[in-house]
Symmetry: C2
Subunit: 204 residues, 2 copies
């Protein structure tokens, strides 16, 4: 029971884990109050370091936001992979599982999604784009499967997968922006996937 074990322990000079703590605190603030309300100084205060300390780990505010976006893409890819592991092998099942997982992630993490997709005209944005690649590749692979099984017309795979990606992303944007009610999410996603299946079915 020494002085150094109080409720707010005097931290040793070297904090040791600041980067991860900053990211965790930033993500919580992002979810609760949005990107614009996220302040480096406030994060430092919450964690108990001086306002200059974050600088060692993130060159500036934007670098921290980029890091959040990058982890976001990782989590998106994890969500898509997990959904595919729990579904059947046929193309329609995999399409529906992917679409459902995407829009669920996107509407559950609206502020994070915004960070992930509004990257334009920034330095360091290259790293964010690279982080997005696995999710795009996963969509691409899904379309390739559909083309092999004959359920998706032959053609420019990437073009088809981008339009599919765009549709899911757009549905999430309309809902996250309160233009469309969240209660319509499932029906809209079904509409999009069934329309995709019909629109892609090779003409007999």
């Amino acid at each position: 029971m020494t002085e150094t074990r109080t409720a707010t322990p005097e931290r040793p000079y070297h904090h040791g884990n600041l980067r991860d703590e900053l990211l965790a605190a930033a993500e919580a603030t992002l979810r609760e109050r949005g990107q614009e309300q996220l302040s480096l100084r406030e994060l430092a205060r919450q964690i108990g370091v001086s306002h200059g300390a974050p600088r060692r780990h993130f060159a500036d505010r934007q670098a921290l936001l980029d890091a959040l976006a990058i982890t976001g893409f990782g989590r998106l890819d994890d969500a898509l992979r997990a959904a595919l592991e729990e579904t059947g092998e046929d193309f329609p099942s995999r399409l529906r599982a992917t679409a459902g997982a995407y829009v669920r992630f996107a509407t559950d993490s609206a502020a994070l999604l915004e960070l992930m997709f509004t990257t334009k005209h920034r330095e360091g944005a290259e790293a964010v784009r690279e982080a997005a690649a696995p999710a795009f590749v996963r969509l691409d692979a899904l379309i390739v499967q559909g083309q092999r099984s004959g359920e998706v017309a032959a053609g420019d795979t990437e073009q088809v997968s981008i339009v599919l990606f765009a549709t899911l992303q757009g549905i999430a944007t309309l809902i996250n922006g309160d233009m469309v009610d969240l209660s319509r999410l499932e029906d809209l996603t079904d509409q999009a996937t069934e329309q995709f299946l019909r629109g892609q079915r090779p003409l007999g």
Copy 2:
């Protein structure tokens, strides 16, 4: 050639047109440097009024951004209407014209688009949503035309039009966020519209 006619004329006490000038200057800054770089104080400096003056016309920074978003929706609707006036009467032509006009507007005014569609959890957002209504109604009317002509399957009109809207919005988001190159815009839009036409064609 009196003292009151210098290059920077001494303005009369009552400015008279401050609201419109603020909006115009704000839109230019938005386009050139993005929303985050837009500062009320800097706008006031550019126009030549005190930093407190904007307060008479916009309660706060967000109110000015909302006003920009609202004028953006008006301009979007204008663009859609203009495109429809220049095309044929058949449904596929009108679908293609609408889609093309939408993605052109959306990629030409990327920062404005972001303002228009990220409205969540804000007061005064109601006015922004209302401003969006005409564009949604226009898409709805287009789908109704397609259903009447038999080129779109009968069903929930709004659901179909929202998915179409979402697809176009998503394509623009991916391009504006530099995830997809602008050069692919036209092909992606064509892919989306042709897939829509095939996916909606009633089964014979």
